[in-house]
């Protein structure tokens, strides 16, 4: 460990989770996340871990619920349609205040959609991952190295706030190979957490991991308490990278795969003297509004570049309180915007067109 190795994004997700002390993986086959599960099935038996293929995504997320409720680090990975099936379980996990990691290697939708990269689960991940009032902390890596780093953070923050966390990857980041340095592996800490259901050993009152409460005032209070935690997360955990923003007239907001394309387009435009920069959200929830808001006065306009139909546009408008126009450029259905396309958008906006 510590040396640089060449790894496929999906395999790096798996190895990073193991390095973060996760020894419990449950999942169901789906493209383009397949390598995460395949890698886990190879590694877990060798290190005393659990790899179990559930009979469905529905079962798999509930296995995660059970394992995580017993106080161990547990995770699943899937691709877009699989998240829809897991929505029920994610809601119960959030409502039961159980930390776990869910990886979504996104593909094109809706429905069965396609198997090529997409970011069209942005709204689902950040706003509606299931029924009821709840959130997950959602990370959006843009490189294989960042994926590795964020997996560890996702587990740590999940434990800290007792919330489910998501790493929102996509078919491009999952399938590409890049050099990575893996972190020093942590020992899995499977000690019983004080809140967990792992047997009271006749030493305490029973723990109940539960999302049911039929008394409205109590259920409201529990939701209020959860949202006090969310307020702390919004205050403390927003993350973004700022790239050439200080003098920028145009600020691109893009995350994940589309931020890589945007960065190349910005570099090209800068050579032409166009003042363009980027705020790259690393957390999608909490949305890094602090970072974007800073440029609401200095920048003349904003552009989101997404692999969907503009799901992030409204979040940018809210972050800058609609002080400046926000344009959108995106491809969808598994298409990836090219540097040339984004560059042309920049040139167009620089000329005053919207």
């Amino acid at each position: 460990m510590g040396e640089k190795v060449l790894m496929k994004g999906n395999e790096a997700i798996a190895e990073a989770a193991i390095a973060a002390g996760c020894r419990h993986f449950f999942g169901y086959p789906i493209t383009p996340q397949t390598e995460v599960a395949a890698y886990m099935s190879k590694r877990m038996p060798k290190i005393g871990g659990v790899y179990l293929q559930g009979e469905s995504e529905v079962a798999s997320i509930n296995m995660v619920l059970g394992a995580a409720a017993s106080g161990v680090r547990a995770m699943t990975s899937t691709s877009s349609p699989g998240i829809s099936l897991m929505s029920e379980g994610i809601s119960y996990i959030a409502g039961s205040d159980v930390p776990c990691l869910i990886v979504n290697v996104q593909r094109g939708g809706p429905g069965l959609g396609g198997i090529q990269p997409s970011q069209s689960d942005y709204n689902q991940a950040t706003k509606a991952s299931g029924h009821g009032d709840f959130h997950m902390i959602v990370f959006a890596p843009s490189t294989v190295q960042e994926t590795v780093d964020l997996i560890s953070d996702a587990f740590d923050l999940g434990d800290k706030y007792r919330v489910p966390t998501m790493v929102l990857s996509d078919g491009m980041l999952g399938q590409m190979m890049e050099p990575v340095v893996l972190p020093e592996p942590k020992d899995p800490n499977n000690d019983c957490k004080e809140w967990a259901a792992c047997g009271h050993k006749d030493k305490r009152k029973h723990n109940v991991i539960n999302s049911l409460n039929t008394d409205p005032p109590t259920l409201e209070r529990l939701n209020f308490e959860r949202f006090e935690r969310y307020a702390k997360i919004i205050e403390n955990e927003q993350r973004a990278e700022e790239y050439l923003c200080d003098d920028a007239d145009i600020i691109i907001v893009a995350f994940g795969a589309s931020s890589r394309v945007s960065r190349s387009a910005i570099d090209k435009a800068r050579k032409e003297g166009i003042k363009v920069g980027m705020v790259r959200p690393i957390t999608l929830w909490p949305f890094p509004e602090k970072f974007i808001k800073k440029y609401a006065d200095s920048a003349k306009r904003f552009l989101t570049v997404e692999m969907n139909m503009g799901q992030m546009v409204n979040d940018v408008k809210l972050a800058i309180e609609c002080k400046k126009p926000v344009s959108f450029y995106g491809r969808t259905g598994g298409m990836i915007p090219t540097t040339k396309e984004v560059y042309e958008q920049i040139v167009k906006l620089n000329g005053g067109e919207q």
Binding site: H24, F26, V50, L52, G54, E55, S56, V58, A59, S60, N62, M63, V64, L65, G66, A67, A68, A69, S70, G71, V72, A74, E88, G89, Y92, S96, N190, A196, A197, C198, G199, H200, K201, D202, K203, H206, N207, V208, I209, N210, S211, L212
Partner: protein
């Protein structure tokens, strides 16, 4: 003064919310007595399902996890795989286990998950007010089969123990009832065997308890018990459908 009987330690002091004559109370007590007798409360984790018995997490004194509707076998799988030294059981009704959770049940059984399923079959959805269950008898009137269950329209009931007994992962599949003292004793023996099998690592055990729902059947408790004898037991015969005995470790 000699104590002739007392509440099992594995039950909390919370009063049951169940309707008068409901057999959940008896089965809860049997499970708790078994947990006491085996001395395993401290390492037992129960999984409550959705339905009337969802509140079993208030009644069992061991650690409890509440599962989404039908998902108790998957949740129990997660707990047991993560904590193999714990004793893990699910407590599920017929809608939970044999309708919405049929997939999870069959696959947990097929994998031979080393868990115990306590299955309450009273042929009706209790909590939502008496709708057709996967085990509602042909011709039986419920809120959603107001003219009696017409199997040509609503399909046929599922005999769960018979179905699961064909799966290699099942160590014990036994159907019992709690309509009289003799059968209550037999039911307890079966439940105890299931927990002992888990302690010995034998695999998936299911104890189906043919039960009543006086409220939604629209009967007095004693009439409900007689209806169970006359109608349920002929369709769901008591007995051991699979028992691998001492064969497998």
């Amino acid at each position: 003064m000699k104590v002739m009987g007392e509440k099992p330690k594995a039950l909390t002091d919370a009063p049951f919310h169940y309707c008068p004559g409901c057999t959940h109370g008896i089965v809860h007590r049997l499970v708790a007595e078994v947990i006491d007798e085996l001395g395993i409360e401290g390492k037992t984790v129960g999984v409550a399902s959705v339905g009337c018995s969802v509140y079993s997490y208030n009644y069992f004194a061991c650690d409890m996890v509440q599962a989404p509707h039908g998902r108790a076998p998957a949740v129990a799988t997660g707990v047991k795989r993560a904590r193999p030294d714990n004793v893990v059981f699910t407590y599920q009704g017929d809608g939970d286990l044999a309708a919405i959770g049929a997939g999870e049940t069959v696959h947990a059984a097929a994998r031979g998950e080393n868990i115990v399923a306590i299955f309450i079959n009273n042929a009706i959805y209790g909590m939502t007010g008496g709708q057709m269950a996967p085990t509602t008898l042909p011709g039986q009137v419920t809120q959603t089969t107001p003219y009696g269950r017409d199997v040509k329209v609503a399909g046929n009931p599922i005999r769960v123990c018979e179905m699961l007994s064909s799966l290699d992962g099942v160590a014990l599949a036994q159907r019992v009832t709690v309509d009289c003292v003799k059968n209550v004793k037999a039911a307890k023996k079966a439940i105890k065997k299931a927990f002992e099998y888990q302690l010995a690592g034998k695999g998936y055990c299911i104890i189906e308890v043919v039960s009543t729902c006086p409220t939604n059947w629209g009967m007095a408790p004693t009439d409900a018990l007689q209806w169970l004898r006359d109608n349920m037991l002929p369709y769901y015969p008591l007995g051991v459908y699979k028992d691998i005995g001492e064969a497998k470790e």
